[in-house]
Amino acid sequence: MLVRPNHSVTEIQDIANRMRGDIVAMIAEAGSGHPGGSLSAADIVATLYFGVMNHDSARPDWPERDRFILSKGHAGPVLYAALAEAGYFGREHLATLRKLGSILQGHPDSRKTPGVEVSTGSLGQGLSIANGIAAALRTDGLAESRVWCLLGDGELQEGQVWEAAMFAAHHRLDNVIAIIDHNGLQIDGACSDVMDLGEVAEKFAAFGWETSVIDGHDVGVLVRSLQEARQPSGRPKAIVCSTIKGKGVSFMEGCADWHGRATNAEETTCAMGELGCDLEERV
């Protein structure tokens, strides 16, 4: 039985906004974490979990499910927010992020968190894992399943990403879809200053991938593009999403300093106000 969440664009927008509230609130509660890259990916992840992927929180090990690999593991809060929203675990866990004994580790831990396929956090490794899963799904005849891998743009500086890019094209893994959260910023500043990525889509195209560049905050476009990407075409697909780091919180937007720090009480109130979220309700 296929479980394909079929939420409308408006519903997904609402969910993404709630997830942004969760992200800000859980990181504030934790006192540390990575809000910038979690917020930039919120529309993408909400679209995947509530508009595109086949999955069922009641059966996290359902063989025919789509797989989601968060290669940019530091954005764990966006994944935790989606998994809680989808019912993989209770919302009460969100307030335990990064605390001793929590199922929600600083970076995703598949042995602790229901719905997390594999542990990530050391950058550059997710695409290789996605390929391995995709290869296995193909040989096992699970033709409906797709493997979605979300990478950061700074992460593309890791050489292993390109080893994996070669592999997917060589093996014509058209059940692999890489989504690049291209917010243009990394810890030390702009990617173009730290280590220029050049044209990301062109690089993937040169490796034999089918590519597209879309607005990573336009949910209508995301739903359409990601659903189209389900269709096998003989090649792996890379969807480069133009995004804004810290999207949704004005003082975080486009600011590399918010890569890895939590809001203080005042900032949290301000951020939640901008998002129209009630802190008490979120965490």
């Binding site: 797989r67 831990d109 598949s110 042995r111 396929e117 594999v118 542990s119 990530t120 956090g121 050391s122 550059g124 490794q125 695409l127 290789s128 894992i129 996605a130 390929n131 391995g132 899963i133 995709a134 290869a135 296995a136 799904l137 040989t139 096992d140 050489g159 292993q160 080893e163 994996a164 070669m166 592999f167 093996h171």
Partner: protein, 315 residues
């Protein structure tokens, strides 16, 4: 008959699939040397060659394991561990995946390729990882057993295979038990705790020591992690002198593991034969064994020094 432990690799994977195990192999352009080419020929749909990309080899194997496969990886020990350590740590071990690393060409017996290709720190690196089991088979039959045990036991494994032929020690019917050390020869004066290619050397040395009236016990420490504390402590408490013998750095390897155990549980004199904190060098395998002090004569003289030291202290 002298067969290399690597010869067991491809053949055993083929057998495992024949028996119905969902085994796959990921290789990094060394399939002829590691013998995974045999597996590739038998089951091309279960074989992935990533090219010269060891990090991707481990990552791809991890993905295959996430999807339910028992994923073996090849390459040489130096690249498969050193080049991909973070992938082994953060993806394979941290997630507790069914990835079985079985690289070949470990130790100085790689020979003429020289120090860059002679991996002498792999046991240390792998042993330190939570959840990783480390097997160092002494001969072809033990390698078959180790590979089968790795396939049949959930979680990450490191099976250390070698390039050169080693004499057959274990019978083909010997069951390889993970976590068990095998007493191959009983003795009372000194324990020779050996692994890998050094087991054959230790047996030879024990024969030479017997001719001089010294009774040496030979223990094949084929599982370095988890260590068989019971067998090693029993032998050490009997002989009061333990000589560890490995084709690996004396830092962090099997000898270290044995010394760590005995210093806490049964403090006796321990002397570690191995590579003394240096890189390897080009040469023929047997030449190198002599050059680095791993030959049977070295073991005999070290065992005698050790026993003398123990007796001197007692007197």
């Amino acid at each position: 008959m002298a067969r290399a432990t690597r010869e067991a690799f491809g053949e055993t994977l083929v057998e495992l699939v024949k028996e119905g195990r969902d085994v796959v192999a990921v290789e990094a352009d060394l399939s002829k040397s590691t013998t995974t080419a045999k597996f590739a020929a038998a089951y091309p749909e279960r074989f992935y060659n990533v090219g010269i990309a060891e990090q991707n080899m481990i990552g791809t194997a991890a993905g295959l394991a996430v999807a339910g496969k028992v994923a073996f990886t090849g390459s040489f020990a130096v690249f498969a561990t050193g080049r991909a350590y973070d992938q082994i740590r953060n993806t394979v071990c941290y997630s507790g995946l069914d990835v079985k690393l079985a690289p070949t060409h470990s130790g100085i017996t790689v020979g003429p390729d020289g120090g860059s290709h002679q991996m002498l720190e792999d046991i240390a690196l792998m042993r330190a990882l939570p959840g990783m089991r480390v097997l160092v088979p002494a001969d072809y039959n033990a390698a078959v057993g180790a590979l089968r045990a790795a396939a049949n036991t959930p979680g990450p494994f490191y099976v250390r295979l070698g390039r050169v032929g080693v004499p057959d020690i274990h019978g083909a019917d010997r069951e390889f038990e993970v976590g068990r050390a095998y007493v191959l020869r009983e003795g009372a004066d000194v324990t020779l705790a050996a692994c890998g290619v050094m087991v054959a050397k230790a047996l030879e040395a024990a024969g030479m020591l017997a001719a001089e009236g010294i009774s040496a016990e030979v223990v094949d420490v084929s599982t370095v992690k988890p260590l068989d504390a019971e067998t090693i402590i029993a032998s050490a408490s009997k002989t009061k002198a333990v000589l560890t013998c490995e084709e690996h750095s004396v830092i962090g390897g099997m000898g270290s593991a044995v010394a760590e155990l005995l210093s806490q549980e049964c403090p006796v004199r321990v002397m570690r034969i191995g590579i003394q904190d240096v890189f390897g060098t080009s040469g023929e395998p047997e030449e190198l064994m002599e050059h680095f002090g791993l030959g049977k004569d070295h073991l005999v003289s070290a065992a005698k020094d050790l026993i003398q030291g123990v007796r001197a202290k007692i007197c």
